[in-house]
């Protein structure tokens, strides 16, 4: 997609060049179709060619249609206008449309016309090559140029223009670049266009744009390559490493491991994780003596340094240029292969092209013949999407899961025996036997072929399948109704399966997702009747990208075949990258990508997409992990200062993100959400992207889950506990300060008072003292524990250390015993018979101080009631006694009362408090 867009942009410039050199684009255009038709007449192979020529443009158009949602949208309108413009152009030869439009038209013409042109010049020699040049958008450059040069100066000029275009697109197609270079060497014709192309290409070689799969994390921590980015990565011919298997070990000299991998894959090599007999080379720069190198030595695998690898690639380049034959041969091969099934291919393409072609046909002066001829071959079957078209026709076609298919097959064969001939209904006892089941549940991720295999198997066995899926009404004949079993049994079957939306006959047995993506892909390329030349690595990449969803793989493949007939690694990569946003991105993946070694090459909108994949979680993950990254932007950084500076900037940015987030959440300023993700995710990631390293021993080198959530909830819990304790303390009336004071100042001393006596004094005495203290501050045992909890710091001795368990037990006992006689201060400290425990929260009331003057009589009444309610206990008298006996301050009274009487009931305290009555009463109810 990307390159396409660029093309549109780049073209105009070239255009001007072209126009200068080939000032009459319209005329050649006219010539082409004629050409095509003649070619068609001339030889059987030529139709294909011309078709393809046409197809290229149609393919491109298709592209934009496919991607209605994409940026391409922008393109669409212009294109539409283009059409109209063209139509107009047809009617009157002059182009009345605005400049832009006419430019576009030129563009198109150019595309169409360059190819046939070249074709003309060298039709006989390399026919298919042309095809490719038409549809392959890149690779062909080389050949096109060659031809151009040979044929005429004019076309050479055009070739140049093209070369430049290629440069523009070049970012993605290094290997093409290679080709172009070959030609350069060979021909000595150095056109400006080529030079540019070369540059574009090498820039791209720096690292194909594209996105990190998160794969790099799988490797342990590694050092940076010592000469990172200092060497120039050579370019070679596209297949120079094909058939070779590499294993990378240790740190390379200048490449990150991922880059090396990319490089190898780009040139057709394979990279595997461990050394085996099939391994051709072990790529390493320093012999670290790890397992890989040991094994490699054992197996006699060759060692290869990074320089060696570069040399290999360069060498391929040279060798190619010396014997020019090579590429041609290859080309021929391709040609033949594509010829092998020309009709089919032709059909297929026809159909695809159909509609755009019409538009096009009108554009050109004499398209009639060609287009009509093209339309004819369109056959019903070929209009199916590939997913349908290449659906396996026999079970043996099914790729992957063969054993399961077999199982299914067997089961179906025996179905009749089991259910029709024998006991017609399943018996409970039989259930365990797999053959005896009435139905099978096929499950798995979408696209792995559940439906297909089920269908095939049943078809093969002569059952007629009736498909009922979710799109049908679920009312009556739910699920697929059993096929051949006959109407008599249909009802029973229906009953059995009525709730399954999938199939009855083939139904479902747990089956694991097809994991062997490679298998699938290999199978796919073999069975690929479309004769698209697909490079295997590309398929691997494809398979990797679609996450094992075969249906999606095919769809992608089909799409790509529209625009090019040779699919290469980078194409696949490119294509899938652009579509990858359609998949669900987990926050972790998003963070991996942002921090990944390719993170810097992501476009801004891609970054936004990533960070918006989960607006809450991504920033938290980033915050949690940003320290762990060794920023690649820091370059040489011996003392780590640069990194620290970057971290400080990132931290600052993250903090700003927090502030913005408050604005968003608290004041609903959602318009800030972009800024928020920019500041809290994108900037920190951009500053620190690089290699992840571990900071702690034994930590796994994966992004941690954001710690803030957990800590925050612990903090919330502790605040609640503290609040409870605080309320109790307040209720004691000894204390009237805020909870932060409690936490900051009081805590140590409180705890000291509660633990020291246990350690220093004899058991009973200590316990008594502590209980007394706790009572004075109405600290409950839960409070005691939560205070303990909150005073714990890592690496500090626990305050209760050294306290004998016996003493602890005694404390609990004493406290519980004391609770009988405890002054009731807070509602939640009251233990009601029959009721378990007051729920921790919603402490409602407390009462308090006893006092002097106020209406005692009233109080007494209230009191007794309350007390009864509360404790159901008859000692209401006490309070009176206490109150009577004391005439001084409230607080004093309590304490004294407790000490003096040793006891009795809460009411002591309650006396005065109750007076205040109304308020206190409701809370008592519990």
């Amino acid at each position: 997609m990307q390159p396409d867009i660029r093309k549109w942009f780049v073209k105009p410039h070239d255009k001007s060049d072209d126009n200068g050199k080939a000032p009459k684009p319209a005329k050649p255009t006219l010539a082409i179709p004629g050409k095509v038709s003649t070619a068609k007449d001339a030889s059987p192979s030529s139709p294909v060619k011309s078709l393809q020529g046409g197809q290229e443009s149609s393919g491109r158009r298709k592209t934009s249609k496919y991607f209605a949602s994409d940026k391409q949208n922008k393109e669409d309108p212009t294109e539409v206008s283009e059409f109209t413009a063209k139509r107009k152009a047809k009617s009157d030869d002059v182009k009345p449309s605005p400049v832009k439009k006419s430019r576009k038209v030129d563009d198109d013409d150019d595309d169409d016309f360059v190819m046939p042109k070249t074709e003309k010049s060298s039709v006989e020699t390399t026919p298919s090559k042309k095809l490719k040049s038409g549809s392959g958008k890149g690779i062909p450059n080389a050949s096109v140029k060659e031809d151009d040069v040979v044929t005429s100066p004019k076309s050479a000029g055009r070739g140049r223009g093209r070369g430049r275009t290629a440069g523009g697109r070049g970012t993605k197609l290094e290997s093409d670049e290679g080709n172009a270079d070959d030609d350069e060497d060979a021909k000595e014709v150095k056109s400006a266009g080529r030079g540019r192309g070369g540059r574009g290409g090498s820039a791209a070689a720096g690292g194909g744009r594209g996105g990190g799969r998160g794969g790099f994390m799988a490797y342990g921590e590694r050092k940076d390559p010592p000469h990172k980015g200092e060497k120039e990565v050579p370019e070679g011919s596209s297949e120079c490493l094909s058939g070779l298997t590499f294993v990378i070990s240790g740190t390379l000299d200048s490449l990150e491991r991922e880059e090396a991998e990319d490089l190898i894959k780009r040139y057709g090599g394979r990279v595997t994780g461990s050394v085996s007999k099939k391994t051709n080379y072990l790529l390493c720069d320093e012999d670290i003596g790890g397992r890989k190198s040991a094994k490699a030595k054992e197996l006699g695998t060759g060692f290869l340094t990074e320089d060696g690898l570069f040399d290999m690639i360069r060498a391929s380049n040279r060798s190619k240029s010396t014997k020019k034959e090579d590429p041609k041969k290859q080309v021929d091969k391709i040609a033949t292969s594509s010829k092998a099934s020309p009709i089919k291919g032709g059909n297929k393409k026809e159909e695809v092209r159909e509609s755009p072609q019409k538009g096009k046909a009108t554009t050109h002066a004499s398209p009639g013949v060609a287009s009509s001829m093209r339309k004819k071959p369109t056959v019903g079957q070929s209009s199916l999407p590939w997913t349908e078209k290449y659906k396996p026709k026999v079970p043996n076609d099914i790729i992957g899961n063969q054993s399961l298919v077999k199982q299914l097959h067997d089961w179906l064969i025996h179905w009749n025996d089991n259910f029709l001939n024998g006991a017609s209904k399943a018996k409970g006892k039989k259930q365990s036997d797999s053959g005896a089941k009435k139905a099978i549940l096929l499950s798995g991720t979408p696209g792995i072929g559940k439906t297909t295999s089920a269908k095939l198997v049943s078809q093969m066995l002569g059952f007629q399948t009736i498909e009922v899926n979710a799109s049908d009404s679920r009312g009556k004949a739910d699920s697929k109704i059993e096929k051949g079993i006959g109407s008599s049994t249909a009802n029973s079957v229906k009953e059995l399966v009525s709730n399954q939306s999938l199939s009855v006959d083939f139904d479902r047995s747990k089956h694991p997702k097809a994991v062997l993506i490679m298998d699938e892909v290999d199978g796919m390329s073999a069975g690929d009747r479309e004769k698209i030349q697909v490079n295997e690595v590309a398929l691997e990449e494809l398979a990797e990208r679609v996450n094992g969803d075969m249906r999606m793989a095919l769809n992608q493949l089909q799409y790509m075949s529209l625009s090019m007939s040779v699919i290469k690694f980078d194409d696949v990569r490119q294509r899938l990258l652009t579509s990858s946003k359609d998949e669900d991105i987990s926050p972790f993946t998003a963070v991996d990508k942002l921090f990944g070694y390719n993170g810097g090459k992501l476009r801004m909108d891609e970054r936004f997409d990533l960070s918006m994949s989960d607006m809450d979680l991504v920033p938290l993950l980033i915050q949690e992990n940003y320290i762990n990254y060794r920023p690649s932007t820091a370059g040489k950084d011996e003392n780590g200062l640069k990194r620290l500076n970057l971290i400080a900037r990132a931290a600052d940015s993250i903090a700003s993100g927090d502030i913005i987030n408050v604005q968003i959440r608290r004041y609903q300023k959602w318009q800030l959400s972009q800024s928020s993700s920019l500041v809290s995710a994108i900037i920190p990631a951009a500053l620190l992207r690089g290699q992840r390293e571990t900071l702690e021993q034994g930590e796994r080198n994966f992004n941690r889950f954001g710690g803030w959530l957990g800590k925050n909830s612990t903090m919330g819990k502790n605040y609640r506990l503290l609040e409870d304790a605080h309320v109790h303390l307040l209720a004691s009336l000894q204390f009237n300060l805020g909870r932060s004071t409690l936490c900051l100042d009081y805590m140590s001393l409180l705890l000291k008072h509660m633990t020291d006596p246990l350690k220093t004094l004899p058991k009973d005495e200590g316990v008594e003292k502590v209980v007394e203290f706790m009572d004075a501050y109405s600290i409950s045992q839960e409070d005691f524990e939560s205070l303990m909890l909150m005073s714990k710091f890592q690496g500090r001795p626990n305050l209760l250390e050294g306290v004998q368990p016996a003493v602890k037990a005694a404390l609990t006992k004493a406290y519980n015993k004391g609770s009988k006689t405890r002054v009731i201060r807070t509602a939640d400290l009251i233990t009601l018979p029959g009721i378990k425990k007051a729920p921790k929260k919603r402490v409602q009331a407390m009462l308090e101080p006893v006092d002097v003057g106020d209406a005692i009589v009233e109080n007494e009444e209230n009191n007794s009631d309350d007390v009864e309610d509360l404790e159901g206990d008859a000692e209401e008298e006490k309070p009176k006694v206490d109150i009577a006996s004391l005439s001084s301050k409230g607080i004093q009274v309590q304490v004294d009362a407790k000490k003096a009487s040793g006891s009795k009931k809460a009411p002591a305290a309650g006396g005065g408090g109750r007076g205040r009555g109304g308020g206190a009463a409701p809370k008592r109810k519990r």
């Binding site: 931290a651 605040y719 001393l749 909150m790 009331a845």
Partner: protein, 354 residues
Amino acid sequence: MLWVDKYRPKSLDKVLVHEDVAQNLKKLVTEQDCPHLLFYGPSGSGKKTLIMALLRQMFGASAEKVKVENKTWKVDAGSRTIDLELTTLSSTHHVELNPSDAGFQDRYIVQEIIKEMAKNRPIDVKGKKGFKVLVLNEVDKLSREAQHSLRRTMEKYSASCRLILCCDSSSKVTEAVRSRCLNVRISAPKEDQIVKVLEFIGKKEGLQLPPGFAARIAEKSGRSLRRAILSFETCRVQQYPFTNNQVIPPMDWEEYVSEIAADIMKEQSPKRLFQVRGKLYELLVNCIPPEVILKRLLQELLKKLDSELKHEVCHWAAYYEHRMRLGQKAIFHIEAFVAKFMSIYKGFLIATFG
């Protein structure tokens, strides 16, 4: 009972520090109608003590008959209903609460609950003050909106209600609120005042104080009387009779912050930053307010810092403290400060020592 609580003066006459303020307050309430009051000053200087004593002065002993309530208020906030849990301490004459407990929903407390309380006139008017008092703690932690909503309440219901606001720093209280109150600044007690109090307590408790011991505690306390008394008692629990070179134990969390500061000074690296983050989390989880952590951390860092860096570091600490208040996730800001410090300090070390 702890000494801090035991020897807290109950009436304005018995106040040992800030006698002048106490006398003025006494005159204020006895001779005239009491305006809204704003007490501010560092913690441990006696604001709360004065307020309680003042209330007692106003309403007599009944001001001490307090009940504690922790209940859930249902507040109607536009389309939805919010549950707010709030602890109040109330007597017949006053209600004390801490509106900032509600976090960012504090404005509902001010708008609904406080207004509700302020509206209701106390029933008995015979011979007593015809108003009730609302004591609001930690007003400086109130959000801006809450403070704004407070303004109107203060004016509208001033006939039936007086507000006593209490906070550490008046700079965080909006101008509008400040101008509606009589501001009473309670300065931190001087060290000799603290010594005086400690000696007073020592005498009451019948303790032998070695010469200079009280002074040492006072010095350690950072002029917080509460802190001084608490650590005095801690010493007492730890070891008695006192010896002259007895260690005055610091607070656990303070010690922990010093540890963090030492860590930071020792090494500036991502790894260390990561460890520091862990420790900061621990402090936060233990309910130490983030502003306190940051402030303390700065103090500890400054102790060991070269003087040329002090200004810059202070600047950044203030910067991040401010931003912390604007934000929600305190750890991010503290961490940003630590990272900033590390980068500054490391740069400085490299520049100086190569």
